[in-house]
Amino acid sequence: MASAVELQEIEVWDGNMAASHALRQAQIDVVAAYPITPSTPIVQNYGSFVSNGYVDGEFVMVESEHAAMSACVGAAAAGGRVATATSSQGFALMVEVLYQASGMRLPIVLNLVNRALASPLNIHGDHSDMYLGRDAGWINLCTCNPQEAYDFNLMAFRIAEDMEVRIPTIVNQDGFLSSHTAQNVRPLSDEVAYKFIGDYQSKNSLLDFNKPATYGAQAEEDWHFEHKAQLHSALMHSSRVIEKVFGEFAKLTGRKYNLIETYDIEDAEVAVFALGTTVESARVAAKNARKRGIKAGVATIRSFRPFPYAELGNALKNLKAIAIMDKSLPAGAMGALFNEVGTSLYQVKDSKHPILSNYIYGLGERDLTQVDLENIFKELQENAQAGKLTHPTQQFIGLRGPKLSFC
């Protein structure tokens, strides 16, 4: 039996430490890990918890991220609670196995500390890796700070392991901005946290010799389509369970999360839509914009997959202009978020069809300043007053050289 850690009511943790403690409290059976910046401290801290007797499970050291996720798939199929952490290139190497995990419906929890993708090599944060994994059939949850990294890790186990869901789940946090920034975190006691997550319920465990199962068998054109459709359906319906878990967590802690988080959006005319730590900066900028007479708001989502189309469309449909912020290379298209938000608004009933613009920012952790956000709100206001776009749809913020914009 593992020893408990006595936690203070308020701990000063960075996002990585917060995630490590949440993983420890979940009493995971197997963590297979290959460290990579900026997620390294998650498994490093966890390793010290294991060696100091605070965890009963196994800690498997492997030779690559591909092997780490493979070991996780094996351990999860065998019937254990499993988690790991990674970033950037390591996540890219894992991607091949991510599809195995979701296809086999293994409720693995992965901490993805978002970081840029090479080349050029860059260890700092942007959302490129999150977008790389978006079609892998995992639930993707988004967090803004260490407290949320902690809370969402606890909830991720509940969501992934729910018998209606059984889908592996990624908890995203911003590299360095969240992962290495120490803040006040209010943890649950070990006992309360474990009780919230609950004992692991295995399903079709490989180690059940009375009911042997073949995992990941071949299915060509005769059945492959049906299996993928089943996964998609479960993902699309998982938001119901995500909301249920959000509700139970709120009852336990008083911290209420929603699929759509809005700030001052009720009477807003213009809004910024973003993911991760940018949301907090945008809230400050919106508050300042209101002082200048701009009816500004901010919106974000908690689950990037499943994407809450209807809820988001309803939350944003009455706005006049929206800036959609993409912290990844658009790579020959509009930003990924821009496309998703646009679809939400186009499909929702009685949408007033807000004017949409796409801002590409923060690649490789280029700063997004309050002045940048102030300018974005200014441009949104001009769009709202003119009733049309007064600038190109897609613009790059903070890029050196001649202004880069498209469409």
């Binding site: 086999m104 059984r166 009911k211 073949t214 071949q218 049906e226 299996h227």
Partner: protein, 130 residues
Amino acid sequence: MKGWNDFEIGAILFPFANNGEEALESHNNERDYTPESSFKASVAHWRVEKPVHNSEICINCFNCWVYCPDAAILARDEKLRGVDYVHCKGCGICVDVCPTNPKSLLMFSDHEDNQNALKNWPQKEEKKKN
């Protein structure tokens, strides 16, 4: 025919209809396999040519049985008893490793009748003189 929402999640197949530990104790001919198991379901769709076994030439060396990547060579009572066409992919490895002269396993078109194939078996090849 089942729909996408009818089957077990996770693309999982259950080989045995009853208790698995009991099934393992009996010979695989007598086990109660499920229709979805890869034992009963044909996994040989892409075979173009099939190996035909000629028991009159066969010396029961079991080379083919050892090398078959799909365990599709049937061996019973210490004798080779032909090929399991539900699992054979037609790779031809068994023919390649067969040491007899002429070979006791040969590839024929998948459409060829086995009796016909046996009638058209080639004669012993003379060793080439140096």
